[in-house]
Symmetry: C2
Subunit: 403 residues, 2 copies
């Protein structure tokens, strides 16, 4: 699902989808910065969007498209978020959709619009106009990689995946590209995720599937606790696979959801691992909680703690900071019932530290991937959050990423 081969295929792996990524001149670096994803037929569309009250203009435009339930294309740019740009910014986002529609021969209301980058700056519309035309001319079944590159900001690599499954005897394909890096926190973030599938499914079920899956994948990432103005995850299902349309819940719907979840889990993990300045990929598992919400709240408290994150950067097995963040998470807990493990090694058991094997723990801390397990000992619910450490590089990137 996440091999190099799958990543290359990405969003163009499902039948009927083409894509392009071009250099419109929006990024100062001169890198790819405008992406277009196109379905050769109408696709059911679903989306989840930032809950930030200061939402960017494209979020409003794309919510309307999702509300209609059908889309043909996604146009996205990096380098400028088109956030806090008022009525003119909204007009710019609407024009992006209109231009893409004109270039592709579909309606503006069938085009998802997304932007990511600096807040508070108007889009350079001359460049956008020329860029959309150019991207439309470059649409291809091999365009996923370029599209994936074109939506990046401070990410160090593009996140992409693809997979094929069997639904009701028909081969169905899924593909995805995503970006993350900074301003990453539950309820979506600077995060963009675009998912395509050639499965046929009712728009309302597609929305339910996406909402459920986002709740346990993209909403379980924390990089810096900042929730962006521009987040969205969008899935287009164009039915080109020819499967009997999934119109109700049942085994077919379950397979669809499981596949979507596996795809989004992989993307979420890679977004966390590639957090700004990250040198460690942290998996925070909370078990023995009374509810999923409790477990998530505790895991997020640990994942967001700057003291925990800097300790992991320093490869310091400072479990005191972990249990401290558990203690202030706002969920009732009892130190005497709680167990904390780093890489499977118990470090805090029922109220006090353990006399762990220091050499074995050093090995855990030196690894790139580290799992922290917290058992609250009061219930059966669990949650997993993916996060990363806090490094000098994070400060550098965000102290120098100027407006």
């Amino acid at each position: 699902m996440f091999s190099d081969e799958a990543a290359k295929k990405g969003i163009t792996f499902p039948k009927g989808f083409t894509a392009a990524g071009i250099k419109a001149g929006i990024k100062k670096s001169g890198n790819l910065d405008l992406a277009l994803i196109y379905s050769d037929r109408a696709a059911a569309v679903a989306g989840t969007f930032t809950k930030n009250q200061v939402a960017a203009a494209p979020v409003y435009v794309s919510k309307d498209v999702v509300h209609n339930g059908t889309a043909r294309a996604i146009v996205a740019n990096a380098g400028c978020a088109n956030a806090c740009t008022g009525e003119p910014g909204l007009a710019d986002a609407e024009e992006m959709g209109m231009l893409a529609g004109q270039a592709l021969g579909c309606q503006a209301k069938e085009v998802i619009v997304a932007s990511t980058g600096v807040i508070g700056v108007r889009l350079p519309m001359e460049k956008i106009r020329a860029g959309i035309k150019e991207a439309a001319a470059h649409l291809s079944p091999e365009g996923s990689e370029a599209a994936g590159q074109a939506i990046l900001t401070t990410d160090t690599y593009s996140k992409a995946g693809a997979t094929e499954i069997n639904i009701g005897g028909t081969k169905v394909r899924f593909g995805a590209i995503a970006k993350g890096s900074g301003m990453i926190q539950p309820d979506m973030a600077t995060m963009l995720a675009f998912i395509t599938t050639d499965a046929a499914i009712e728009p309302s079920l597609l929305q339910e599937a996406l909402t459920d899956v986002v709740g346990v994948t993209f909403n379980m990432i924390s990089i810096d606790g900042d929730m962006s103005t521009n987040d969205m995850a969008v899935v287009m299902a164009n039915g080109a696979a020819g499967n009997p349309k999934i119109a109700r819940k049942g085994p077919e719907y379950d397979i669809f959801c499981a596949t979507l979840r596996a795809l989004c889990t992989g993307l979420a993990q890679r977004i966390a691992a590639d957090g700004e300045g990250a040198t460690k990929f942290l998996t925070i598992e909370v078990t023995g909680a009374k509810s999923f919400a409790d477990a998530k709240q505790v895991a997020m408290s640990v994942a967001k703690s700057p003291l925990v994150k800097t300790a992991f950067f320093g490869e310091d097995p400072n479990w005191g900071r972990v249990i401290c963040a558990v203690g202030y998470a706002g969920v009732p807990m009892t130190p005497e019932k709680t167990v904390v493990k780093f890489g499977g090694i118990p470090v805090y058991v029922h109220g006090t530290g353990t006399s762990f094997d220091a050499a074995a723990l050093d090995k855990v801390m030196e690894a790139h991937d580290i799992t922290v397990t917290i058992d609250l000992g009061v219930g059966e619910a669990a949650a997993t959050v993916w996060s990363c450490d806090f490094s000098y590089e994070y400060v550098k990137i965000n102290g120098e990423y100027h407006t």
Copy 2:
């Protein structure tokens, strides 16, 4: 109140108080690490304590003392937090109080006990025992500075203040020492604040005054969002000034509260300014809110945002990150009614950025003290939070401060 002279007098400025700070050998650095504060007569005592469910042993011991309402002394050590140390740790904290009581000729239940430093390590009791004896032998009216030094961990300087006021025709004195630096967040933190006064006041009124004042001073600081296991603010009022005892609310109580608030405000500001690795002192003022709670929540959201903090470190007037943190604070807001100013210069007005004077704004950003004002435009309530930036040094300190 915060002159060098006042800082020298500190907690021994009020009549009847002596103090000492000595080297017990707990800190690896060999610096002063054990403080003793003593009142020559019984003093009313009040305290506020961490709400972290993983509270350190001394917190339990000191809560009991405050519950009794009378204290004679405070014994505090730095270098070891005596947190997550189970029953043996609780016994150690109790022994600290007992040893101080023996050395000073008072009861163990009249001794406030405090610890700060690394979590999860037992106190070196041999050193503590010898240290308490030595400290008792060194109690002096000039001992405040040494006591202030002895409670520091990663602070770069000791916070102290003193002041004199007139209550009902009698001169009354206040003094204080405090420490902060890391794990600093509302509801108290690694923070310790010890306040002395020779005013006579009923313990219940003293507690009410302290609780109210802490709510608008120490609980309005955010450095890294981590709430420590060891925080406490304690005030002892020994009545040595001879004022008619403040036994009910009225003008005398109001003067007492105002003085306590001014003293704690100064300490809180200095704790924020000396946050770990801080290069900037940030004052986040939220006005036009519907309630104090709303205003505080918005100010804290901005103060805690790593993206905002790193932007100020980089002297980047990135108002987009500020309005973004306002938008996800969880308080209803309308971008079109909101105004953000940096150093009095409007940067975001009613939904969009302004064309501010870049040179003037650069001057604001280059200064050490920066005030961010956010007017929500929906009410009359306001709140002020003190914070600092996020620097390479923060990562260094916390990546290398090993367990």
